[in-house]
């Protein structure tokens, strides 16, 4: 950790916050605080400089225009690249996941991504809208992923990254795999407040950021009931 407090940066809420993306910031802060870890949440608008010394960066979803603009500004700023260079944690969802890759499509045009995650996104034949579930890569030791997806893209995972999960319900990257994982960068099509249904993923991000391999467990009665309900609704 950079200082005593865990610094969590939510990037560009003015551009990338279409689907309750603030939830991931709130959930990480909540889960850290309940373990006595101090948290400093920081919201960085697209006309502000991206700090390169934070511990966790969150990149949310958005419409095509804002997505392309966000990618341009993040590339020009360079702060996120420097942060990733020192192994900061990044959690990116939906449009944010796509723009972490090499390239993506927005408003019918191919756009350059941040090139921090070895994925390439293009357009699919149909829009993927609905419940998404999958078995997460066993190396991460996490229970099933559950979320809601709403995107028109299809994403191809290159050799530098690993798919986050194998799809059991929904489309994800391409109907077979979902999301991607590379070092301490994690991307997913489970959009918006994805961590609300996946507290174990939230804790993985916190473990990566704090270097503490054994976070004390929390009372997850409500997230567990939500997970059980959602997974049985689609199972």
């Amino acid at each position: 950790m950079s200082t005593e407090a865990l610094r969590i940066v939510w990037l560009y809420p003015d551009l990338l916050s279409t689907y309750g993306d603030r939830g991931n910031l709130l959930i990480l802060a909540h889960r850290a605080a309940r373990r006595g870890i101090g948290v400093e949440p920081v919201e960085i608008r697209s006309d502000q400089v991206v700090p390169d010394s934070a511990d966790i960066y969150l990149v949310g979803g958005g419409e095509d225009g804002p997505q392309a603009l966000a990618a341009q500004r993040l590339i020009a700023d360079g702060g996120l690249h420097r942060a990733v260079g020192r192994r900061a944690v990044v959690f990116a969802v939906c449009a944010g996941y796509q723009l972490m890759g090499t390239s993506f499509f927005a408003k019918g045009a191919k756009c350059g991504g941040l090139d921090l995650l070895d994925v390439v996104s293009d357009r699919g034949p149909t829009r993927a809208v609905g419940e998404l579930a999958g078995e997460i890569d066993p190396r991460l030791g996490l229970p099933a992923l559950t979320g809601f997806e709403n995107h028109g893209g299809r994403t191809h995972v290159g050799p530098g990254a690993v798919p986050l999960a194998r799809v059991t319900v929904g489309v994800g990257n391409d109907g077979t795999t979902e999301g991607a994982w590379q070092g301490t960068i994690l991307g997913t099509y489970a959009h918006g407040p994805a961590l609300s249904r996946n507290p174990a993923v939230a804790d993985l991000l916190l473990r990566w950021a704090t270097g503490d391999g054994t976070l004390p467990p929390l009372d997850d009665t409500w997230p567990d009931r939500l997970r059980a309900e959602r997974l049985s609704a689609v199972g």
Partner: protein, 413 residues
Amino acid sequence: MTQPEHRLPLRTKLATTVSKGAAALSRATGRGDGSVIGGRIGLMIDPNLLANLAAGRHVALVSGTNGKTTTTRLTAAALGVLGEVATNSLGANMPTGHTSALAKAGRTPYAVLEVDEHYLAQVLAATRPVAVALLNLSRDQLDRAKEVAMMAQLWRDALAAHPEVHVVANADDPMVVWAARDATVTWVAAGQRWHDDSWVCPECGSHIERSGPSEWWCTGCTLRRPAPQWTIKDGSVVDPAGGPHPVRLQLPGRVNLANAATALAVAAHFGVRVPDALPRLAQVTSIAGRYATVVRGGRTIRLLLAKNPAGWLEAFDMAEEAPTLLAINARDPDGLDTSWLFDVDFGALRGRQVLITGDRAYDLAVRLEVNGVPFAHVRSFGEGVDAVPPGRLEVIANYTAFQDIRAELDRVN
């Protein structure tokens, strides 16, 4: 204005008769309130039924993400000064609902129709309105609805195709202003508590800056808040001549005062004087159960409908400090995605007894836990009523949860 003599085509007459019969049957059998089925059957017999039924009437349309049912009701009340008004006051706001409403009303010189945002272009073309009121645009049922910028574009295109239509629009919503700016517009300072869908200029993509309670402007182009002709000040609606009119409503919240201002602005375009309309606005109580108060088991229960983040913020503004039941579903009419719960700050409810219910109560439970709002889960509305002490109970529910509760209360209006 006088009504031109207008003869309905034979097919339209038949469709109208069958439509009314189906609606009556729907109500009589308890299957629905008849506000959609009649129109659906009528349109099968005469595809031009809506246009034929609208012809010869002076029509006003009301659209927007929030407040359209209430504003439609208020506008219909105001136009009542001039003559009989047909309206779809049950909130059935797609062409089937418009058709049912006009068929049921028979011939009236005026009509005020609430229009689902997605259908504005189609209904503009069919009904050739005198005026259209545009309230606001914000995220709503995103897994199905058009995203906000796309919706603004649809509106802009629809208005461009009908330059003869007079627009009454909210000067405080950048997306609405952009959609309407090339039309002939009366601007109303109707407010927009919710800003999170209008930080990016729909014209040029630059950042939209805000200052004070209502000023906003694009940092990259000429889009900015137009000077409103109608404003709200200290519980009064101020008309373009500067005359303040104290407005007494039975509906709560600042947002309903703004809805009244919009209704008055539309009515003024039809020639209604504000003082003539005000007593009629004051008679409007609940609308299809919205704001209805019901006494049950010693509890005075008030129903507030909130369908999206902007609507929830307005509901918290209206709700009294009292035990509060929140009910959340995610069925088709609600949108299947509950992500929006994290766009709403429920912190305003801290300190109240909060109960949660509905199909998706667990999504709300996780949200409230993270929000630091203590709550208890109840399995049904009835259990929630029993769980609070005698006295006031505020109920805030999204669309189908609201309808479920209304049904339990015998379709309260």
